[in-house]
Symmetry: C2
Subunit: 278 residues, 2 copies
Amino acid sequence: MASMKIDLELVQAFLTKFQTTDRSIVLVTSGGTTVPLEKNTVRFIDNFSTGQRGAASVEYFLEQNYIVLFFYRLSSTLPYQRHIKNIFDESSQSNQNVYLDQYHKHQRSLLLIPFQTVADYLAGLQQLCCLLKPFGRSALIYACAAVSDYYIPDDELTEHKIPSGQNELIIRLKPVPKLLGAIKGEYAPNAFVISFKLETDEKILGEKCLQSAEKYNQDIIIGNMLKTRTHQVQIFERMKKQWTTINRLQSNSEEKEIEYHIIEFLCNKHRIYQINDK
Amino acid sequence: MASMKIDLELVQAFLTKFQTTDRSIVLVTSGGTTVPLEKNTVRFIDNFSTGQRGAASVEYFLEQNYIVLFFYRLSSTLPYQRHIKNIFDESSQSNQNVYLDQYHKHQRSLLLIPFQTVADYLAGLQQLCCLLKPFGRSALIYACAAVSDYYIPDDELTEHKIPSGQNELIIRLKPVPKLLGAIKGEYAPNAFVISFKLETDEKILGEKCLQSAEKYNQDIIIGNMLKTRTHQVQIFERMKKQWTTINRLQSNSEEKEIEYHIIEFLCNKHRIYQINDK
């Protein structure tokens, strides 16, 4: 599990293709981040995230004609690929070509950028936001990666594998620096910024979303519960101080994934955000 | 990331098919195990392991006419499937059908049994070894999963997500109970048992293998270094007190994966082990 740096030239070359476009562009972050416990990493702390939400969201952004930078945890779920069954799965494979065709249709508008560790993620988020700064209000940052809260700073890491056979292992972790506030504050001040808050205790979810919005100035914060996250989210718009609940099961198009509804909602808000500038 | 119990009836039904066979049978464990840090798990400690070695080994055991129980970490590498490229990979896909054909040829002899947490793994290993006991010396246990050394016992786990925003997070872990010794000692005393030892510091590798063999009575222990594990392993036979080095790059069939050479070596040893009983 080595650290991964972004190939900035590749990203810049991709963005250059769309310099004169009037299309909107989105940075989707996806998957969990890892926290190495050793320099030669055998053990690491991980956050639960399959990357399913990020991968699904990419497909719906592309359908809304967005250009997409997909900044994803290596080996987490990939858009389109997620519909392709593995050879052990005996369920019907008949629709695979639909997704392959969708992928080929949108391929030119999608760039995949992998990361692994929380350090990779933090460095990459800053770099990518800075590259999106020239897009002004047309840029949307959709931060849906599950970022570790605690890590071991590089200078405190042991070189080799922690030995087994001790009676107790004590791991001391420091808080991960929070970059979310720096997106609106510095890296891409005009971008429309959305982040997620995942909790397991419903009682504190709303409060946590408000605290986060207060601290980091996102335009929209989406609260979700671990157990119900595939059918319900609570969306808070910071400027309007307004809550919206999306519940897939109560909608008219129940068969659609919740990400379809979330992206439709966000694209509408982003459109208004861009008009308000003019 | 919920706990997963083994479907013992399914395993028993699979084994019943081969009750009167004279084929050998192998249990391959594969992938890393996870250590939940919360009961409603958002964070967990993971061991680095793609499951590549286990998945590759399964294919070579099947080629050697073994019946295979593949006890693998959910979402780690799968045999045959590992050769199938994803839709973003632009390299040649021409050989895919070869692997599909191989899979279909061996499908009847292979059972996939998934796990996630170290607790799942420990419970499952015991159950599967006990089911293999009737196979006596025909059973081979190939323990190649990267099992966590430390965990938080269930009664010390917090219910909800550890809050962010503290100045320091201290995690106290206890040693995971070692079941490896119980395989020869109790669960499947006549099985031929192989385990792996992975280190990052070459100086201690041999010593660690010897210590492990002393403690757990495996028949064979395979030492490997994180950086060179895809081309070199050191194999120690406990009874003969003999070391063998396999280096793929120095062999006549360099183009073969190292697992091909390992499995060929082990199947020969297993054959002798079975003959010695008669």
